[in-house]
């Protein structure tokens, strides 16, 4: 079963449009939604949670329609927003009591275990927490009610590398259970590269690409040379060069490995390079 299926999702605002979004997250996997600020990542998460109403399209979460079964979905989904949203004067202990009365399947002992694991103070007000502590508390809440899907919206932004690494390994542990899945949106591509099974690029409200990470890394390469070399390659096989960037010092292009002649010299492409190329490079197609 897929943990999440988004089909032809469209949402129009005055100054922004999320167009025809299609995403699938299989159970037991982690999908990274990569996009610059304002690309539509948070809007997508809020549409999944029925906080915004879509103009068209459908969203299925854990096999249920996101609008019709919103309450069931929210019981089984853990959410962490960039700005968390916990009342600033409450302590972790009080937040636990609040959540116990909100989630029907709240697990107090798991919450306490996570609070202890993250070394979070029980009685300190949330407003006095560091950014990392706030994020950890948000994650502790999201993981203490037997959620089968985690939606993390920019959950690693503003954290130091050590903290981000901790969160990445925690999420890896979480998805060892094949019924657990994660959708994580971020503009910090390096975290997603470490963590995700699937990567989706979103730009100006459109999905540019959604693919298994390993396939992305094995299918694409980066070619460096002169502008004429890149253009020649494009002439030989129009499908080979996807995006190119010409600078006064030379040219670079994202190419499809299987469309190139044997022996072509290529460098390995990282997710971040691929993303930047897709956003900033000249689209050859």
């Amino acid at each position: 079963m897929n943990a999440l299926e988004i089909k032809n999702l469209t949402k129009t605002f005055k100054d922004f449009k999320l167009s025809n979004i299609n995403l699938t997250l299989p159970s037991g996997c982690i999908l990274g939604l990569v996009g610059e600020n304002g690309a539509g990542k948070s809007t997508t998460v809020k549409l999944i949670l029925d906080m915004l109403r879509a103009d068209s399209g459908s969203i299925t979460v854990l096999g249920r329609d996101s609008r019709r079964d919103s309450l069931y979905i929210k019981e089984n989904v853990g959410v962490v927003f960039d700005d968390i949203g916990i009342s600033t004067r409450l302590s972790a202990a009080e937040v636990g009591k609040v959540m116990k009365n909100i989630y029907s399947n709240w697990d107090s002992s798991e919450y306490m275990r996570l609070i202890d694991k993250f070394s979070l103070p029980m009685n300190k007000p949330f407003k006095d927490f560091s950014r990392g502590m706030k994020m950890k508390l948000g994650i502790a809440i999201a993981m203490s009610h037997r959620a089968r899907l985690l939606l993390l919206d920019e959950a690693t932004s503003g954290l130091d590398p050590v903290m981000r690494d901790e969160i990445v390994s925690m999420l890896n542990d979480y998805t060892r259970d094949e019924t657990h899945s994660v959708l994580i949106s971020s503009h910090i591509v390096s975290d997603l590269e470490k963590l995700c099974d699937y990567i989706a690029f979103i730009h100006k409200g459109e999905i540019l690409l959604c693919e298994e990470k390993d396939i992305l890394l094995s299918e694409y390469g980066i070619m460096r040379g002169s502008e004429s070399e890149i253009n020649n390659m494009s002439d030989i096989n129009p499908d080979a060069v996807l995006h190119k960037k010409i600078t006064p010092y030379g040219a670079e292009a994202i190419v499809k490995k299987n469309c190139l002649p044997a022996g072509a010299r290529l460098g390995a492409v990282g997710i971040e390079e691929l993303f930047v190329f897709m956003i900033k490079g000249e689209n050859v197609k």
Partner: protein, 217 residues
Amino acid sequence: MKGLILNDLYLIIKNFKAYVFIFAVFAAITLTGNGNIFMVFYMIFFVAVIPTTLFGLDENSRWNVYCCALPCTRKHIVMSKYIIGLASELTAVTASGICYAVGMIRSGGFDPGLFSAVMSAGFLVEVFYISASLPFLFRFGAIKGRVFMMVMVCVVCIVFSGVGIMAANGAEAGIMSEVYTKIQSIWVAPAALAAGLAIYTLSFCISCAIYSKREIS
């Protein structure tokens, strides 16, 4: 919904400590005075701003967004604010009522009719204030809601001034004794309670309709 109410209660306990002190000062003035109606109304009005303040705190911490991602319906979210509003209102009316009654007894002139009329008026004013402000808060949020609160305070002041002028004119015309007799009837309190609950219920339905359509971003 219990969790939402608990969250609000924690916020009230942590953010309204100063209110307890101010309330105690006004309670002392009412207790030692000779039935000053202004003090009674002041205490009731003071508590009426609690739902508006809670909205501001929720928006400041983004709890208003987060709670929509939790397993709570929009109706639950609206209802929790109305329950908190009603509970704080009843607490304020009861506490100020006790102080007012004790103040009247101490000054040797407890008048059940006047007491019932004053408390009913206090209850209705607060119900009206909360009922009128909550739909605006659910529609526009705390900042615009506060603007509305100021407008409401002006409206109440104008209405009370108008009533005062009418009472003065009525006293001159000799019709006030008849009016006093009517508002001190034993039916005033139950009628005020019924009217208050009807206004509150209508306001709740309007807020539910507004908030169920509102997009949270």
